[in-house]
Each structure stands twice: as C-alpha cells, then as structure tokens.
C-alpha cells in the first residue's frame, strides 16, 4: 500500500483564520521538482499518501489583494488526498502583514524577492533575515496559459480548538504565461538539516511556470463546494492504524486491512469535492 505521511497536524492551524476567498492580482511563480522520499513523508500528514516519485512545489506570489500588496512563498509537498493530487502545505514565508499567512497553516515573516539575472529569473526567500532558499528559473519562454493546470491545496485550519485539514481549491485566470525547464530550488548553505527548506530541496527539476493574472484561493473550500474537513483523529490515526497493523501483522491480516483501506478510499472519493482543475 502507498506510504503515508507522519507529520502531526496539531497546532499547525493559524490563530486567525479567514476562509476566503483570497484574490490576488499580479504575478506568480510555481516550481515543481522531485524531492527526497523520507523528507516528503516527514512533512505530510497521515491521511495523505505520497505519489511516486515524491515532489515538492514552491508557489511564489507577488501581487495585490483587497488589503494591499501581498507577497509570499509557499512550500508544499505533492500528495494524494481523497484520490486527487494536491499540494500539501509545509510552510509559507510572508513579507509584512504581521505574519498573517498567505495560506492557512504554518507561516513565518520574512522576505521574498524576485529579480532578473540575464535571461533567468531568481527568487530569494529569507525567514527573519536568514536566507532560506534560492529558486532559479532559466530562460522562461511564452506558452499558452491553457497548457497549465492547478492543483488545489491541503491546508490547516482551526476547528473547535483543534487543527483539521481542509481542501483549498485554486482558480486561475491567466492573462499570460511562461515556462522554464530545469528550474531548481537550492537551500541556503547554512540552513539546519531539519529545516523543511533544506530537506525539500530539488533533487530533479520537473517544470516551472510564471503566470500573470488573477489567482483565487478558497481557503475554506470555495463557494458552493463540499468542504473537505478531516480531523486528525478521524482520518489520520485511523489510516495510520490500518497501515501499521497491515505491515506488522503480516500478509493475512494485511489483506483484511487492505480491504478496509480500499473501502474507506472509495467512500471518501465519492464524497470528495472535485474542483474545475481536475478534469483536464
């Protein structure tokens, strides 16, 4: 059975939670790159399974919302949540705004700068004055924005004093887009080993894009859609228990656990919200 994450979600929800939508006009950058399997599992909650191979996503937003200029970098790992590919939030770094996160979940205040270096675009991310990572997008070229697709996010929101997972659909109205091949995210050399920005560094570039337009992020699940709330107690522990017992107790018991797992999967899947980005 697929591997599941091991990150506890307790305490990951931000103190203040605005279900959105967050509507940003401006430019954003998204890098997709392969990451280490063990690192990915460490930053993924228990009710998310890992894809093969594991990949990370870096979203850098440079725009303006109703409150004014907004610039943040969100690091995520690719995961499968209710059968669908999702970006599972690891941490956002937000410039200004008093630490209010760009996406609900762990956040830090810091700086996000974007500059040109010849034909390349370079993004530098720092947390509290300390360099975290640099992303370089080599020689981007224009593409039809319709070629791009957008996965929703899995974020962390408060409910009844606890943290629960929520799906955050993303809607994009793109006016222009560029693609870059070979883009990488490199951590700062002095970063601690356990820092996610170091652990989730690029092992193999996949793709990167730069888009101009409007990005709408429904942190609360979106108007009229089923909000997929999953508490750690309900889902994560149950899944983890099923898998643990399957692995420990050998094949006979594993087959029984597998059947339960598949049944849960189909039930969840039927109930899941399907965003407009899914049916490409």
């Amino acid at each position: 059975m697929p591997d599941r994450g091991s990150r506890s979600i307790e305490g990951l929800a931000p103190a203040g939670f605005d279900p959105g939508p967050v509507e940003v006009e401006g430019r954003w950058y998204q890098l997709t790159f392969e990451v280490d399997r063990d690192a990915a599992l460490q930053w993924m909650p228990a009710d998310v399974t890992r894809p093969i191979p594991c990949y990370g996503r870096l979203l850098v937003v440079d725009g303006r919302d109703s409150r004014g200029p907004l610039r943040f970098a969100a690091l995520s790992v690719g995961g499968r949540f209710r059968m669908m590919p999702r970006n599972v939030l690891v941490e956002t770094v937000v410039e200004g705004r008093g630490g209010v996160p760009g996406l609900p979940g762990p956040a830090s205040e810091g700086s996000v700068t974007v500059s040109g270096d010849g034909a390349d675009i370079v993004v530098r991310i720092a947390r509290a004055g300390r360099g975290l990572a640099e992303a370089r997008l080599p020689s981007p070229y224009a593409i039809d924005p319709a070629m791009l697709r957008w996965d929703g996010w899995v974020v962390f929101v408060p409910e009844g004093g606890a943290t629960v997972l929520a799906e955050s659909p993303v809607t994009v109205q793109a006016e222009a887009a560029r693609l870059s091949k070979g883009a990488v995210m490199v951590p700062d050399a002095g970063l601690e080993r356990r820092d996610p920005w170091r652990q989730l560094r690029t092992l193999l570039p996949i793709s990167a894009c730069i888009v101009e337009g409007r990005l709408t992020d429904w942190a609360g699940g979106g108007s009229g859609s089923d909000v997929a709330w999953v508490s750690e107690a309900d889902a994560g522990r149950a899944h983890a228990a099923v898998l643990d017992s399957a692995h420990r107790a050998g094949r006979q018991q594993g087959e029984g656990s597998l059947q339960r797992e598949i049944r849960h999967f189909l039930r969840d899947f039927r109930a899941a919200a399907v965003g407009p980005d899914d049916g490409v």
């Binding site: 093969i52 191979p53 697709r149 692995h247 594993g254 797992e261 999967f265 899914d278």
Partner: protein, 359 residues
C-alpha cells in the same frame, strides 16, 4: 506486487501469472498481454515483459503473445533492439506475437529515464514507421529526426509474414485516431463507458478506411481493457471484482502523470485519473459500474455482448492487483468464464476474443 516485499514476493507473483497464462491457453483464451513499466512501485514490476512473455510462449501452444507495449522513446529502448527482440519472440513463439507500441504516460517513468515529455509523440511516430521496415527489408538504413542508422541487416526477421500485427496503446484522447491514421490496432487502456467507447470506435473505423499504414498491412482492430472476476454467486463475484478494481485504481492514483507535473501539449490529459474517477463514480455505492466484467457468467455475457455491439473486437482482462484475489479464485474464475461465457461467443472468435492481461 504487494508490500511488504519479501525475498520471494516477486518470484511468487510471476509464477502466479505464468500459471494463469498456462491455464488460459489450455482453456482457449486468445491473447495474453504484458506491459512495460518502470519504477511503478506495487502498481507494476514488469519492466522486462519480453522475458516474461517468452516464458509464456514456452509454456503455451496457441495463445497470442502481446508485447504491450514497447515504449518507443530512445531513453527506454532502441528501435533496432526492439525490432530484433520482437522478431526473436515471434520466432520462438511460433509466430504468435502481437506488437504493441506506446510512449509512457507518467513522469515517474519519463523523468526516471531522463526522457523529454515534449518529444515522446514524435519519437513514437518515427519508430512505428521504421520498425516494420527493419522487419521487411533485407537491409535497412535511415536518417531521421530522433534516430538514424547506416544500412545494416536487422536480424532475425519475424516468422509471421510480412510481420506481426501492430498496435498502439491509447490513453490520451485522440490517440485512437493516431492509430487509425497509421493503420494500427487500437489497444485501449482506459475504462470509459459504452457510449464514449462507441463514439471513439466509430471514428476509428471511419478514419482507418483512409489510412496511410505504417506497416505492410492494416490492423483494424479495437482491443479494450476490463477487469474479470467470474463466480457462480453474482453478489460475491461483483464484490470481489469491485475490490479488485478499487485496488487497481487506488494504486494507479499514486502515480505521477506526465501532464500533472509537466505542462505540455504532448500529454493533454491526466493519464488514467479522469477515467478512474468516472469508473469509480459511475454507479451508486453497492452497484456495479457500467461495463465491468465482474459477477456471475450471465451478467458477464451480457456485458461482453454490449461491448461487442459498440464495436470492440477483443477484451484484455486484468485478473489481479497486488494479489488482492487469491490465486485459486483467479484460476477458478478463468475456468468458469471458459465454461459458461466463452461458448456464447464461439461462433465469432476473432471478434469476441477474450484475453488475459499480465500486469
């Protein structure tokens, strides 16, 4: 290949597959296909299907041997080697090879091999044109875009003359039309319902009439894919079959489709994901999704007749997924199918041929 992987897990699964193929041959099934996949943990550990299929040929007498498919991407295979291996398989199987082609649909594989997703359609198109020439020309030389070679005799030549039937795996929308335009068989890999398949097949039939065949003959056939679990008790058969389908879909969902990670016109959809979603949601909970060959023989006969009516020539059956169904039940399912279902289609074997697929 179910985790946890013990020292003999892969051996046991391969032996199970060989036993299934041997029995299928004895029972009168027409074809066995094995995939070429790389790096797809649990989902498929079949990276050298030519070896497995050669073993199949050695333990069988009549069943057709389907190489499904050769990945026509230079980082995976050389076209010369692919032609040589296929010809050798055709010889040792006594002229039973079916030659499937494709280009991989996952970043897992393409990225792992260092292949450029933008290029795979082009290299596939080049290869399906040169391989039949290697088989039929005494000496072959070529200057192409992705592949060139000086004039050489590519040996051996296939036993089947002029060469084995050629197929293309159809996952992306429109690839069935690529198959038609090149005079190739359509090897369907998605689980669309009757109406959708009927429309695609009609267009395939229309287009292939005007094709420019890449081989020496036109292989106008539609081979689709399905799950098979046949049991006297319809409820048990359906329940077990749905467990099989659910397990397969769950594993497929973990793969990283090329389209999902890499924006390219070369892969316009998410591989299996959209089809899986339809398949899993096309029936209310507790009911069998449309078109699945699971349940008792009467129900399966009905379903196959429906597939036949929409224009399908052959059906490839997935028999198991990570050994969800015990081997004894898989074999019993094959026996019951052969006894109760096959006779209903015996009068038109070429058009209703059932098959087993190795994964």
């Amino acid at each position: 290949m179910p985790r946890p992987w013990g020292p003999t897990t892969e051996y046991e699964v391969y032996q199970n597959c060989l036993e299934q193929v041997k029995l299928a041959d004895e029972l009168g099934f027409d074809q066995v296909w094995a995939v070429e996949h790389h790096f797809l943990e649990e989902y498929s550990h079949c990276s050298a299907p030519e070896v497995f299929l050669t073993a199949c040929a050695m333990v069988t007498k009549n069943i057709r041997i389907g190489r499904g498919i050769v990945v026509c991407v230079p980082e995976f295979n050389s076209p010369v080697k692919a032609a040589e291996v296929a010809a050798t398989m055709d010889i040792v199987s006594g002229g039973r090879l079916e030659f499937g082609t494709g280009r991989s649909a996952t970043w897992t594989e393409l990225g792992g091999m260092g292949a450029d997703p933008d290029e795979t359609k082009k290299t596939w198109d080049e290869w399906v044109r040169v391989i039949p020439q290697m088989w039929t020309q005494e000496r072959f030389g070529y200057q192409g875009r992705a592949f060139s070679m000086p004039q050489r005799a590519v040996l051996p030549k296939p036993l089947q003359k002029p060469h084995p039937p050629m197929w293309v795996a159809v996952t992306s929308p429109g690839t069935e039309l690529d198959a038609a335009d090149r005079g190739m068989g359509s090897l369907g890999l998605t689980f669309g319902g009757f109406a959708e398949q009927e429309k695609k097949i009609a267009e395939y039939r229309r287009r292939i009439k005007y094709c420019d065949p890449v081989g020496s003959f036109v292989n106008e056939q539609v081979n689709t894919v399905n799950f098979l679990f046949c049991h006297e008790d319809n409820e048990y058969g359906a329940k077990t079959g749905q467990r099989l389908a659910g397990t397969f879909n769950y594993l497929a969902e973990q793969l990283l489709a090329a389209r999902q990670a890499y924006p390219t016109r070369s892969y316009p959809n998410l591989g299996l994901l959209p089809a899986l979603r339809r398949e899993a949601t096309s029936a209310p909970e507790g009911q069998i999704p449309e078109g699945l060959c699971i349940g008792n023989p009467d129900r399966i006969v009905e379903v196959i007749k429906k597939w036949e009516s929409v224009g399908v020539d052959r059906i490839n059956f997935l028999l198991n997924a990570i050994e969800t169904v015990p081997q004894e039940e898989v074999l019993a399912s094959l026996r019951l199918f052969a006894k109760e279902v096959m006779p209903k289609f015996a009068e038109k074997p070429a058009k209703t041929a059932a098959a087993v697929g190795g994964a």
